[in-house]
Symmetry: C2
Subunit: 334 residues, 2 copies
């Protein structure tokens, strides 16, 4: 468990997109985001107070989170100096980079010397079991997509925020690097060894109160040939009671796969339900989440209305317009 | 690539089942199986010549294969003595054990000293790519099962043997530990990291002659919640042109999952085809392989006849009665 609150390290991010991990934390856990720390040349800005390491420690920050993608797969000298100083100042470090903090000798030595922890969240921290398929108590909701990167994580986080506002029992269950850094815990599913994927999802979503909802962060898509196995493990390990279909309407082909068309929402609904019924015969598709970031307000509203009429399911952009109707669809199940 | 031929180490196997890896090699690659080496108390016997290490080396054996499951997850002192002597005698070592040869200091040191190789086939040897979904030349056939351990590997190996006898171009593509030790190469799919599963299957089954068939060893089942993600990656990474449905008719529930019923062959056919069509719209189900080991000859023939009439597909037990009709179904596709 990564200690909060965080100081968000933006390094020398060349643009806002490079700092999207930090942006995700700021958007969804503002209470964890005490401040930001930029290096010269940084082009990202989260609008948080710019803080020195010592000022952030004095304000209570526990962990320096590397909230930026590094260039070329190398952690630069300039970064290393700051990260080493952070350990000396009393911070733990957390990162979702491919290059591991623990593989940098100076950081490993400094963590040892100062008694601090290095969290490489892309590396599984637990020996997950093989899935046993036993039915668990409590309720689970999983976002499944027509493609990768269509807004599954933001859908789950928006629903979680709405449920907490309604004082419902709910947990967002992170399954990817950004989600883990947002919530402080979870499983890096795409880095889990094949035999243990479904078991790691069972481990992540254990028995709970009958009226408690796990909002499981989706990954990949059953229709994305590179990652469909990961999605499959989420559906069978998560044994969801409810599915939310996620879609991005301006995509011309499956992400990274020219020549592969996106499926229809009808096809996604039918195939996902068939798969989900193997682990939980009671599973239902309860709503549709559309990422309308690429559409004007007028076009977004028209699109949502059309899809809702066609599919007969509450259809919203939960980030743009709120997740209330999706949450009400879950409430109707319990 | 593991060098052949092999001397098969049976250790102190408590029964024949404990030596099933060695049995698989003997059944499917008798030309690789020069002899066997037992320790006192061994209850397994492959019917091969019992050979000393030196006699096997003199006869041309290159690799000592640990063809037996060890008890309690520990490689015993008695085994270590033999394995170390084998390295000194000029053998490479190969093993599919959970406990790795390389983790035994005496074996690692002896391999270094004598310039020999240790093959822990449960550990991926390659940095596999992310799958790109690009259509490859050549033909591919995948065995999919109603459950785990229903005979998918034996089906592929039986078809491969029949195709070689007919001078067809064919490769058996191993995806599990036993398959790798049988063929000397392959991918340990259940040990591959989630993001790279489908990519490893693409890597295993590259472009080939238009009339060449890859017979891809199946793993798990779309209906087995513990391993369905692995099966999914085989279907999408393998982009098969032909599927063989595999079934074991005496199973009362999914292996290791009490309360989970096996699907019908019709359900397996329909779901597998839907999934396969995402990667290859031309994929067809061409035949059914039934493991009738649990049935008398009369019951087996009755069962095969009934299934064939019901499903309208060639239905055989390829290990008991030969794979000719399954191979003819492939020939009809090209």
């Amino acid at each position: 468990m990564i200690k909060t609150p965080y100081l968000l390290f933006l390094g020398d991010a060349p643009d806002a997109l490079a700092a999207k991990v930090a942006q995700g934390i700021r958007d969804w856990r503002p209470e964890y985001a005490l401040g930001q720390l930029c290096l010269p040349g940084c082009k990202a800005d989260l609008g948080l107070p710019e803080m020195t390491l010592q000022a952030a420690r004095d304000a209570g920050a526990e962990t320096l989170v590397v909230g930026v993608a590094n260039r070329g797969g190398v952690i630069s000298e300039a970064w290393l100096d700051v990260l080493e100083e952070a350990l000396a100042t009393g911070f733990d470090l957390a990162s979702g980079l491919h290059n591991l903090l623990r593989d940098e000798p100076c950081l490993a030595a400094a963590a040892e010397k100062y008694g601090r922890q290095l969290f490489d969240v892309r590396v599984p921290q637990v020996e997950y079991p093989i899935a046993n398929g036993v039915k668990r108590t409590g309720k689970r909701c999983l976002a499944v997509g027509t493609d990768c990167s269509v807004g599954k994580m933001y859908t789950g986080l928006a629903m979680h925020r709405e449920m907490k506002a309604r004082h419902m029992k709910a947990s967002f269950r992170a399954t990817g690097q950004t989600g883990i850094l947002i919530t402080g815990e979870g499983i890096p599913l795409d880095a889990v060894v094949a035999d243990f994927m479904a078991g790691s999802v069972e481990w992540l979503t254990p028995d709970n109160d009958p009226d408690h909802w796990d909002l499981i962060e989706g990954q990949g898509s059953l229709y994305h040939v590179s990652y469909s196995g990961v999605t499959m493990a989420l559906i069978h390990g998560g044994q969801p009671d409810a599915l939310i279909l996620c879609h991005e309407p301006t995509r011309e082909h499956m992400r990274g796969l020219p020549g592969y068309a996106l499926p229809s929402l009808e096809a996604l609904r039918d195939l996902s339900l068939q798969m989900a019924h193997i682990a939980n015969p009671a599973c239902q598709v309860v709503g549709i989440s559309v990422n309308t970031a690429g559409l004007t307000e007028a076009l977004a509203e028209k699109y949502l209305t059309e899809v809702e009429a066609r599919m007969g399911l509450p259809t919203v952009d939960p980030y743009r317009y709120g997740a209330a109707r999706l949450v009400e669809a879950l409430e109707a199940l319990t």
